[in-house]
Amino acid sequence: MTDLALPLKNIRVLDLGIITAGAATSALLADLGADVIKVEAPNYIDPFRVWVDFEKKDDWWNSSPYFNFTNRNKRSLCLDLKQTAGRDIFLRLVALSDVLVENFRRGVMDRLGLGVDALRAANPKLIVAAISSQGETGPERDVSSFGSTLEATSGMAHLAGPVDGPPVLTGRDLNYPDQVVALFAAGMIAAALLSRRRTGAGVHLDISQRELTSFLLGEQFLSDGAMPSREGNADRCTAFQMIARAADGTWIALSSATADRSVDERALRRTIAELPADQALARLKADGFACSAVLDGEDIRRAPWFAHSNAFASTSDGQSTKGFPFQFRETPMRVLRPTPALGQDTASVLGELLNLSESELASLASDGVIGDRPVG
């Protein structure tokens, strides 16, 4: 069975990733078989734990669906990196690890005494994936932003929305640049591991979310002389497409790769507006259009194909959770560990990897270096 291990078996990842960009990158590495240790502190927890308005129960910090969807398949270490003892322990873990992922605001790692030079001094073979809004350098490296800010500053928002109206943003429920960067960063880490296998040397990856968002519009930069603008829902690569509203209020997206551009759009809108969605969709399919209702979350969970989608999965205790963006045929990725409670694995990680004794752990706990709940 060892021949069929997941690709990142035997790779250890220290995960300082927070919210989506960093934490989802590490989750992908965990899905691929890596031992991912998520590191938070008693005085600094992943903000995703508090992103949701809900009644604060005794263990509210373990209850956020956003956090729990993003951090399954990991282990949890709760260690105060601001204390000297915590930082020293962390650097000992760095020496035993292959990858470190972080997406703090620029400068935080340096202030913790954990800048790239310190990390590489502890482990020259370490792959450091630093994910940030703007990158590690440049005049805007310290600006504040969220994913939708980057849609604006990357050129994406300028191209999204109605031809004759304002740009639209994906908003805090999607935050598109935060999602795609995890796919990209995990790919760069895998490439860096391949490179390290050949060279033996560690790699510092400096990944800018804003640059990635512009990169994903690359052809627009090349069409120089005719600066692009918003096209609404049309697409010049597709002969005809639009979104129209059916009689029951459902929005329907339709397109045709072959339809004559002289399709009477107004007449088609009228036809769709007179039919309930299911009849409109049947009619459009019969006429050769690719089409779908615009689905919301409830629609997706009810769709017959939802159960077969790799994108969602179940934990061992039956809870719905995030799945995978692709799947291997021989060794499918699985959610093997539910999201750990804060600090759930602190003792086992430090005992197993650093041979810390129970008395040493107790001393660290009494000093507030390790913990299992937020403080302050």
Binding site: Y176, H204, D224, A226, C237, W251, G297
Partner: protein
């Protein structure tokens, strides 16, 4: 170990990597898609291959008879030959060979292939098979497009003006997100040191990106429908600004705009602001409309408010951050973004692949 040794030998790799131009140098990758493959599948494959190429891999595109259909797709460049900017962006630095005359793609000695579901799996190389819905969706066989995939994934549900028509993500985001997933699947397969086969569904890749849509029903209010418009583009005197802020930024936003009415209880909490969104925007719009987007950006950033100007592509060509980081490359095809990563402080492969132009079928 066998495949890895082959790659290392091709790269001429030494222990310290001397002479290696890119992290994936020595890795051979083939892209092949049937002429009838859906556009989003073809684009996803091309994006995965592009990333590999930028990292120094040797990438060969097997073009169907008549050439890759992407060659004929807009946007087109403004030069005399009006080449496809889409094709140039995705294929710079790759080799192209015609499909006819190839009896066995393993003969090309690939480490990995990126293919659509109609192409035969290779005997030895690892494979990434890209399709619209994946191999395990027997009920989904209908035609699809990037727009309908965005509809099925819930992305369109989230992007609209208040209670209005949904709008698509610009460009080819479903395909490119799947391309990022395909690249990860391919490199993970290469790390496995054995032949692997991975399936990438464009729908699943976008659903993965939009995972909160299915998480949503587990959450308490405020519901997502009501949060549409919470972050929105607001007109400035010379364009638009994306008004993005979190609860903690609200006091700073009040200070920025300086209107005491924003301190009223109807705007005191996130929920209250969502319930009174129209009134809130009526108060905010005049302040933004009287200022240039760059000035708004500067003033907001001085208060750590994460709003940002809606830059155009033209704005970005002279963007100080992009210039400082050498992000945009002058290529024979025009200005093009480089791979968005600094690899030990430099662009991988020194950006060489970005600068090259693909050969045509006839050239090769």
């Amino acid at each position: 170990m066998h495949l890895d040794s082959q790659r290392q030998a091709r790269a001429g790799g030494t222990a310290n990597g001397t002479g290696v131009r890119g992290p994936l140098e020595g890795t051979r990758i083939i892209e092949a898609a049937d002429a009838a493959a859906p556009l989003h599948v073809r684009l996803a494959i091309a994006m995965a291959g592009k990333i590999a190429c930028e990292l120094g891999a040797e990438v060969t595109v097997v073009e169907p008879s008549g050439g890759d259909p992407i060659r004929r797709l807009p946007p087109f460049q403004q030069g005399l030959d009006k080449r496809s900017a889409l094709f140039e962006f995705l294929n710079g630095g790759k080799r192209a060979i015609p499909a006819h005359g190839l009896s066995n793609r393993d003969d090309l000695g690939a480490d990995a292939v990126l293919i659509d579901e109609s192409v035969r799996l290779p005997d030895h190389a690892s494979a990434v098979v890209v399709s619209t819905f994946g191999p395990h969706q027997p009920d989904l066989r209908e035609p699809a497009s990037e727009l309908t995939i965005m509809a099925m994934s819930g992305v369109l549900h989230l992007i609209s003006q208040q209670a209005g028509e949904p709008f698509r993500l610009p460009g080819h985001q479903p395909s490119y997100a799947a391309g990022l997933a395909a690249f990860l699947a391919m490199t993970a397969g290469l790390l496995a040191q054995r032949r692997t086969v991975a399936d990438v569904s464009v729908l699943d890749a976008l659903l993965w990106v939009n995972w909160k849509i299915a998480c949503g029903p587990l959450l308490a209010p405020p519901a997502r429908d009501r949060s549409i418009g919470e972050w929105q583009a607001v007109a400035a005197s010379d364009g638009y600004v994306a008004l993005v802020y979190m609860d903690r930024d609200w006091p700073a936003l009040i200070d920025l705009v300086g209107d005491v009415r924003l301190r009223e209880p109807r705007f005191a909490t996130r929920q209250a602001r969502l319930e009174n969104l129209d009134a809130l925007m009526d108060l905010l719009r005049p302040w933004f409309a009287a200022r240039r987007k760059a000035d708004i950006y500067r003033e907001a950033q001085s208060r750590h408010i994460p709003l940002g100007p809606v830059w155009t592509i033209s704005d970005l060509l002279r963007d100080a951050q992009y210039i400082e980081r050498d992000f945009l490359a002058a290529t024979p095809a025009g200005i093009m973004p480089r791979l968005p990563v600094m690899w030990n402080g430099r662009r991988p492969n020194n950006g060489e692949s970005t600068r090259q132009r693909i050969g045509s079928v006839l050239d090769d």
